[in-house]
Assembly symmetry: C2
Homo-oligomer: 113 residues x 2
DNA sequence: CGTGTAAGGAATTCTGACACG
DNA sequence: CGTGTAAGGAATTCTGACACG
């Protein structure tokens, strides 16, 4: 529930395919990387690899740019979102530990008195 | 429920990446295509594009080949599986139509008498 | 600031074929 | 039958830079 781990995050798509999927030019995609909005991986041959998640991010970026939002602002916004997500993750984790102790007790550690 | 439509079936991965993901050689992957075991799409430049689903199929194929199963037999088996799936889909569809008529009735079409 | 483009090189992929077994 | 390989070409991708605005 907290981490797809599935296909969505696997960096396997080359830039040409990303162009087709997003309608953006290579130049644009590379520029958004330069501005720290996306973070493709690199294969041996130095080729960029993107995930489906990256593609979704790119579509959002494209919309914002069209609306006149600057890359710097987009970056700030994304940073904020990431922090919120982390906060939520930490909170969930904390709840999980509380449940482990009180909620879903396991009977194996009872003192025999 | 009957058709992911999601990332798993999108043909976006180039053969080099498929090699990395499956551990197979380009030669092997192309040969399995020649034997009609997988069906990549082609991009403008004639480059093959595979889906995550194709990759899973390739892993299964690799195992079977290792076990000495011939491509022809694998093909027969896959054909059979596909037909089973289609049969199941038809059956589900039929049930859906029955439900539409009797199960989940909508009240909008009552005669006023 | 965001994007287009020409430039030259490097890595990727393609096809058809010969080889072994 | 399944796979490796050398061959030559075509398409892809990369980087750094100049340009416009």
């Amino acid at each position: 529930m907290t981490g797809d781990s599935s296909y969505k995050d696997k960096k396997v798509i080359t830039i040409g395919t990303v162009c087709e999927l997003t309608g953006l030019s290579e130049r644009q995609i590379r520029y958004y990387e330069e501005r720290q909005l996306i973070f493709p991986e690199r294969s041996k041959g130095k080729n960029r690899k993107y995930s489906f998640n990256d593609i979704e991010t790119l579509m959002k970026i494209a919309n914002l740019i069209e609306d006149g939002v600057q890359t710097y602002e987009i970056r700030q916004e994304m940073k904020r979102e990431k922090q919120d997500a982390e906060r939520a993750a930490r909170e969930e984790m904390r709840q999980g530990q509380i449940n482990a102790r009180f909620g879903i007790q396991n009977n194996t550690h009872r003192y025999k008195r």
